[in-house]
Amino acid sequence: MNEIDYITPKNLEEVFRAVEKKKRKIKFIAGCTNVIPYMRGEAISPELLIDLSSLENLNYIREENGIIAIGALTTISKLTASEIIRNQSPILFSAASLLGNPLTRNRATIGGNLADASPAADMAPPLLALEAFVHTKRGEGEGREISLDKFFLGPNKTVLAEDEIITHITFSKPKDSARGIYIKLGFRNSMAISVVSIALMIEMEGKVCQKARVALGAVSPTPIRVYRLEKNLEGKEIDQEIIQECSVILKEEISPISDIRASAEYRKLATSVLFKRAIQEVLKGEKT
């Protein structure tokens, strides 16, 4: 059995000093809701655990000049208790309320959910639809700002270097006229891993759709935005014909797998049903 070391840095300088010194397989940890099962299943075998959960200055939700910024160490339950999130980004709020269960939400963090890069990560579709950026830091240098749609590379793979951490996530506050919805299809309400999830945001002017953002979870190797579908909605009056067209596009754009939770075929069908449900709900004018 390999030796595992553990450190809990109090600030970013300590984090990067630890990374430099130890030339070993490191794993950044925070809420540990995924890391502990991974370690037990030997899916990962780190030699040094760097616990970021004491970095209190990466634990915040702020709104400034129309930009919402969320520290990477913010727990999911903190998101569900935030007036800013509830009022300004209801799709992120509902995705947070549906993640895991109250016990895991008290530990899991938004940064961890993204860094883990599960194709079914609950935070990803709403943040993709909100066109969020991931801000990172590595050593003493300038940090990176990565558009979330360029962040995921595959199941549990991101563009993050081994010694790079997420510091915060930002997105522009949606326009007041924007309407959105997040729908998650799982096997039970609590602790379900998504079979399919969809986040949809549209801005309407009269009957015409000005802007559409559609993101999906659990139907591709990474959470994805469906650009072709968005283009097919923008500049048009959304009627049954368009919705039907879109659901065909959707089936072409996704590449779900069959796994323990559902078959690929089922996922394709379910995605198209969820999309129809989502757009009809949103067109009804509910700001969910």
């Binding site: 059995m1 070391d5 553990y6 370690m39 655990l49 109250p102």
Partner: protein, 157 residues
């Protein structure tokens, strides 16, 4: 195996333990600190039987590293009430027949206590939501929800 000395304020008393980086809070509570009232169910956050209150919040102790609890406060079922001095919630579970095999009860009461600490008069829906991370395989949840509502009333007296 490299070990670390940690100190946890367990049910109001500081206790020391030698732990490895891999050990979970659940393992240390049960195997090293004698807190066997914390139950080991699924070990991956699905069942909630290992729930404890960690810095004021209900969490799965199986998904928390023991080292992460170093210097922190942990409350288990015994910190909520004991056989001699049961908490109103515990009395209410007995009165409402909300226990069958009892394996989920410790976690249920921990989740319920964390709820009542921030909401002294929860609706049935709020109770359902609060215990949605706790599985009961015996009774169904009706009596448990009744018991938590009853416990909420008693706690206020």
């Amino acid at each position: 195996m490299k070990t670390y000395l940690i100190e946890i304020k367990l049910n109001g008393e500081w206790q020391k333990a030698e732990v490895t980086a891999k050990e979970t809070l659940l393992e240390v509570l049960r195997n090293k600190l004698g807190a066997t009232e914390v139950k080991n169910g699924c070990g991956k956050g699905d069942c909630g039987s290992c729930a404890v209150i960690f810095n004021g919040k209900a969490v799965n102790s199986c998904l928390t590293l023991a080292l992460q609890a170093n210097g922190k406060e942990v409350t288990t079922l015994k910190g909520i009430g004991t056989e001699d001095r049961p908490h109103p919630l515990q009395k209410s579970f007995v009165q409402h027949g909300a226990i069958q095999c009892g394996f989920c009860t410790a976690g249920m009461i921990v989740s319920a206590k964390a709820l009542l600490d921030r909401n002294s008069k929860p609706s049935r829906d709020v109770i359902r939501e609060a215990i949605s991370g706790n599985l009961c395989r015996c009774t169904g949840y009706k009596k448990i929800i009744n018991a938590i509502q009853g416990g909420a009333l008693e706690s206020k007296l």
